[in-house]
Subunit: 332 residues, 2 copies
DNA sequence: GTGAAAGCGCTAACAA
DNA sequence: TTGTTAGCGCTTTCAC
């Protein structure tokens, strides 16, 4: 029923090897026979079986992508970056959601390796020791996208989270604020705790402002918790907010406005993400551009280098960030 | 280097068949030998090769997903629904973006069939005749998610787009509006043109209001074009808007407010989608709930039935919708 | 430039 | 309950 390479060979009076050559674009085929074979392929509607090819060649031209949650716009953006570059290099993608659950991550890794993917792009807020161990002994190259492994054992692409956060907080300090709140994502995430929070603390310190833990609120990155954070913080009367993502920033703005404060006149806000939401907020958000798409794209590009065994110049790549100034801060 | 089923067999003093049996949970294995085999598997770190398995069994336990654009939150939501159910049934997903480009769709379909996926979930605003032809002759089951094929040749899951749109417009009519604008997505999409626009027209007609093409604006579903639509429509002074998605609705609201109109006092708006944006808008959007996640989940569930050759009760499933009343309309 | 033949690692009869 | 033996459909030496 399904037509195989053997059928084509028979029909074209050549060997399987020759059919394989024309299918794979091997140049060692006389134009005339190539043409003949192509004709038969067309007639028979032959479609190469990638599974058989994968078994024989030990290459599947598919890569695994493990991310927390595709329905979250940040990860979706990342995924698109990955997919675009994958397509460019003729790879397909097996996409899985881990929900940041470590067991699921471990098991997903196992499944993908079982499926013989040629490489893996992985994203998670926390890379456990166990996960790291498995990654290091993986027979297949892995790159971390927007995820920190401080041992630098695994390739990764990130931005300078510390620098970005420091700059944001410094901007608020420079605008004269003394009480600057930090509405953070989960502190279980290394990026939030060891980079953003640290930068927040040190930027304050460098400006002679003592760190006040009451001004820091840990949230789950959602709009609702952004709103709640304002209630929590209100008693301490912060005059500026540094917020971990755009969705929470919008929550913060709405809560502030409900309590009669005006942004940016009474309270300034700097967000972190710069998704398309930033322009859809009123006032539009000043936000640190976190280039998710690019991180995905560069991760995938880096992965192709590993898969082709090309030389790697830098195993840990750091992409630039920038601050997009809009209306939630006063112009300097 | 890589350990195969053969290595395990040798080490455990059993045949490959027995190892295969324990790996696949076949009950016809004496507990003692099962235990022995499991032990060797553990020791050797044996990991079954899914590609070889796929070749031998003609099942890959992976399904293809072809959607327009994963970075668009609607499709991301759909994808999550698909993935969750796929995971539940132990399938993995190969995810590809088509950007609604017909050639890409055709080629993606071809690639996935080549990769021997066990099934495909497909989404696109327009299913061309050529695509339909290929789908019908596909050796692998396909289900359309949130996509219309009027020949009913291919399985699909949708909502009652016409009914939903009709109800929305009727609500606006009932609130006394005579000049109701329709800010539509691309009219190349059957859903927009033959269902929503038609419902809009007929709901108006049924209320004795003549259709005025000036009140209909075709957009690309983006925030910016939502804003622009308002400028285009302003001369005709609509007092109510029916808008094709949440992002455009927010654009409409912002443009309206910039021009001094108040929502819902001066102008009422009903959106279509009810994503999490709907609650993040001010005023919060009254929106027709378009259950993307469910459509994805049900599509995948339907696909599993085809893949298992279960009996299908209904090939075209229609999911319920509802109207979520919030602040962009006046309460009745 | 082309063909023969040996696998790739596994499943699935069929026997025993 | 277990083993033997063909494949699955292709790539890849190695000859010619």
């Amino acid at each position: 029923m399904t037509v195989t390479i053997y059928d084509v060979a028979r029909e074209a009076n050549v060997s399987m090897a020759t059919v394989s050559r024309v299918v794979n674009g091997n140049q060692n085929v006389k134009p005339a026979t190539r043409k003949k074979v192509l004709k038969v392929i067309e007639e028979l509607g032959y479609r190469p079986n990638a599974v058989a090819r994968g078994l024989a060649s030990k290459k599947t031209t598919t890569v695994g992508v493990i991310i927390p949650d595709i329905s979250n716009s940040m990860y979706a953006e990342l995924a698109r970056g990955i997919e675009d570059i994958a397509t460019m290099y003729r790879y397909n993608i097996i996409l899985s959601n881990s929900d940041q659950n470590q067991n699921k991550e471990l098991q997903l890794l196992e499944t993908m390796l079982g499926k013989q993917v040629d490489g893996i792009v992985f994203m998670s807020d926390v890379i456990s020791t166990e996960l790291l161990y498995e990654m290091e002994r993986s027979p297949t190259p892995i790159v971390l996208a927007g995820s920190i492994d401080e041992t630098n054992a695994v390739a990764s692409v990130n931005i300078d989270y510390y620098g970005a956060a420091y700059e944001a907080v410094k901007k608020l300090v420079d605008n004269g604020h003394k009480k600057i709140a930090f509405v953070s994502g989960p502190l279980s995430s290394k990026i939030n705790k060891d980079y953003k929070l640290k930068a927040y603390t040190e930027a304050l310190l460098d400006a002679g402002i003592d760190y006040d833990e009451k001004l820091v609120v840990e949230c789950n990155n959602s709009y609702d918790e952004g709103m709640e954070a304002v209630s929590t913080l209100q008693p301490y009367e912060p005059t500026a907010y540094f917020v971990s993502n755009d969705e929470m920033s919008i929550g913060v703005i709405h809560a502030l406005e409900e309590s009669g404060k005006k942004v940016p006149e009474d309270v300034e806000i700097i967000s972190y993400e710069n998704s398309k939401l930033a322009r859809m907020a009123r006032p539009m958000l000043t936000s640190i551009a976190f280039p998710l798409y690019d991180i995905g794209a560069v991760s995938m590009r880096l992965l192709t280098k590993y898969m082709n065994e090309e030389e790697i110049e830098e195993k840990q790549v750091i992409l630039p960030y920038r601050i997009e100034e809009r209306q939630s801060t006063k112009n300097a």
